[in-house]
Symmetry: C2
Subunit: 417 residues, 2 copies
């Protein structure tokens, strides 16, 4: 066992946050300004406090309301900080100095960890794309004709990205009732979640320059869990010809903890074989499948356990594709994987798939059934991964409760302004 | 003639910037930090200098590299500032104090006027949407079935928005050659522009709250010209099922000047009649058609003169639609109109329409022809509008030169990192 294998901080059995993980987040003590911290067991380590005490380098990185300045500092700074934090938490000789900077996670508020620059959402699970194709285009080939050639994606609304725990108000919009000639206005009747994994950019790139797949670790800072809430009826009426818009833009939830790329080294596996072979700019020598075990809970009951390792397109391929036309990267750019679904019936990452667009409701262990989400429902997505030294690390969770829609008879601003 | 009808600053005949206009921008003197200014004739008035000299209120709004802080200050602050700047430029008694804060526009660099939060691109010209439908779906109804019910739109890449004058590198990507079974990688062969008009949000709105069409002037700060550069071959291969992505995300150019909403009062006209009548949330009592005369120049030769007043969906309707699901607004959110095209053959706002997807090249006055843009081509879009007192005001221009693509044999980063 190496020095780093245990911490003098007590880490409860089954915690997602042993000393091998050390994910970054932003927290606030009651009535205090937000600052950067690291999760360790049931605690958060106050990095701003450590830096102020001279125990950690990084002027201005940690006494900040977002991770963006630290993310922009680049791989050498990330490595130095992670090594030092590991040392402070692993070596009991630091306990006296460091312990005053620990807070119980339950005693602080966890905030959105970074300011999102652009948000791109991919569609990289072959099982998800195939099932959606069968549901919406029965009799046609299940995959769009470009799907095996490129990681399909689109831009989502960065301003709608919220941290886990933020209530999600049932969105209103235009819906086309079955058989109707014209749309009606009302709350979505087909509210869904999508379990996804995202990565966030630390180091940007200039306009006009493509970023190669092999440069992934020079730009990507870490990974988060994502719930890409979706209103299937709004989405299906609006989606031709310009793609998803209001059916997605009302809310996207993120886990409060960002797992550094370095924490996931032991989780890297070979991705599925790609046939046809992708164009050269999409080839990636290193294995960037990730062995993440997701779990989706609805009102504390397990709905599904999708495996991320089966995703057809990998994160470096997504990054190479998104920049091959010279689009620049900025610190805070968020790239989500698309719904994580596997081949099995218990591996589907959204209700659209699980219920075949609401036509085959699922039954929960307590006997209740769901076609789509109801008001008051709580969706919680968690994920774990192999860590170093045989440990298990995790993302914590991304969670949200469905709040009722604004009244339909108020066509505009709910505050009546 | 009112006091405000003329300025003691000389305004050249035909200038877009009489004292009735006063658009805001960000400029930098050589080797100095960017600051906020206002265009007057061939000059820019240094608002940071005026504020520092105590001639203008607004601590911190103008000694800033973007308009965002001033835009966030809201309609009362915008009105107070505009009234005071008008007074300073109209009343010759202020000349001695104000004149030291004038710079020739030719002597400064004009920068991107605001930091873009989210970028939404609409598709609001009926003529454009109909022509595109005929080109891409001959034999089908020219308009998508939802088009007359909602202002169709999608999110674009905010990080790719650049100021007029920025070279636009011909993007590379996946293209499907005619008759081919698999895509190839290479520079776009069908590079296009799209002449558009955008509005930018000053005052944001909270998550979960729709913004009514009638609240437009409480949120929108001003209008800009937009060139939404497009690679038609990349776009057509990728666009199903998620909409435009890399065919658009390589660059979007903005005019350096933002016309305040108040400057366009005299340009407001009734929009086209809408049949079927839109759903209640899309109704707008006030007339928000805008009588803007666009002109598109290719290498200094006139290509087209589209009229913005014919746009089917208005800016307040676009705003109401984009927020009806509770999506929040942020300062800097940019909403572009979509290609501005009219019914006439000389009113088409992009080459896709003018050349029927390259099959009917246009001939320029000098005898050269174009199917799509060639390397070295310069596209310049300008627009004028009726101002107060019978004046004509304008946007200046948004301009860009096409730079050659990165070499095809470099599949990744052009710097070879």
């Amino acid at each position: 066992m190496t020095t780093a294998a245990t911490s003098w901080v007590e880490v409860p059995e089954g915690s997602h946050f042993p000393v091998q993980n050390l994910p970054y987040g932003v927290f606030a003590r009651p009535r205090q300004a937000p600052r950067v911290g690291v999760a360790i067991g049931a605690h958060v380590l106050d990095l701003a406090g450590l830096a102020q005490a001279g125990l950690l380098p990084g002027p201005g990185w940690f006494a900040a309301p977002t991770l963006n300045a630290f993310m922009a500092a680049g791989p050498a700074a990330w490595r130095t900080a992670r090594d030092r934090i590991t040392e402070l938490l692993a070596d009991a000789r630091h306990r006296r100095q460091v312990e005053p900077h620990l807070e119980r996670q339950a005693a602080v508020e966890l905030l959105l960890p970074f300011e999102v620059a652009d948000y791109v959402d991919f569609y990289s699970s072959r099982d998800h794309a195939s099932t959606v194709g069968q549901i919406f285009r029965p009799g046609s080939p299940p995959l769009p004709r470009n799907w095996l050639h490129l990681p399909a994606g689109y831009h989502g609304r960065a301003g709608s990205v919220v941290v886990s725990g933020t209530p999600v108000t049932r969105p209103r919009g235009q819906l086309l009732p079955a058989g109707a000639a014209a749309p009606v206005f009302g709350p979505t009747r087909r509210l869904d979640f999508e379990a996804e994994v995202g990565f966030v950019i630390g180091v940007g790139s200039p306009l006009g320059a493509a970023v190669a797949a092999g440069e992934f670790t020079q730009h990507a800072f870490g990974f988060v869990l994502v719930n890409d809430w979706s209103a299937r009826d709004i989405q299906s009426w609006e989606t031709q010809p310009l793609g998803p818009f209001l059916g997605k833009s009302f809310a996207t939830s993120l886990s409060p903890w960002v797992l550094p790329v370095a924490a996931l080294e032991a989780a890297r596996v070979a991705p599925p074989r790609q046939d046809p072979p992708p164009l050269p700019y999409l080839r990636c020598e290193q294995p960037w499948g990730l062995d993440l075990a997701l779990q989706i809970m609805l009102n504390d009951q397990i709905l599904a356990r999708p495996a991320f390792r089966g995703m057809y397109w990998t994160s470096p391929q997504q990054l190479a594709h998104a920049t091959v036309n010279g689009a620049p990267l900025r610190t805070g750019d968020l790239f989500a994987s698309g719904t994580v679904s596997g081949p099995g019936p218990d591996e589907r990452g959204c209700l659209l798939e699980m219920t075949w667009d609401g036509t085959r409701p699922v039954m929960l262990p307590d006997g209740t059934t769901r076609a789509y989400l109801e008001d008051g429902d709580v969706v919680r997505i968690t994920a774990t991964a192999p860590g170093p030294d045989g440990t298990t690390i995790g993302f914590g969770s991304v969670e949200g409760r469905v709040a009722p829609a604004q009244p339909v008879d108020n066509p505009g601003h709910p505050q009546g302004a």
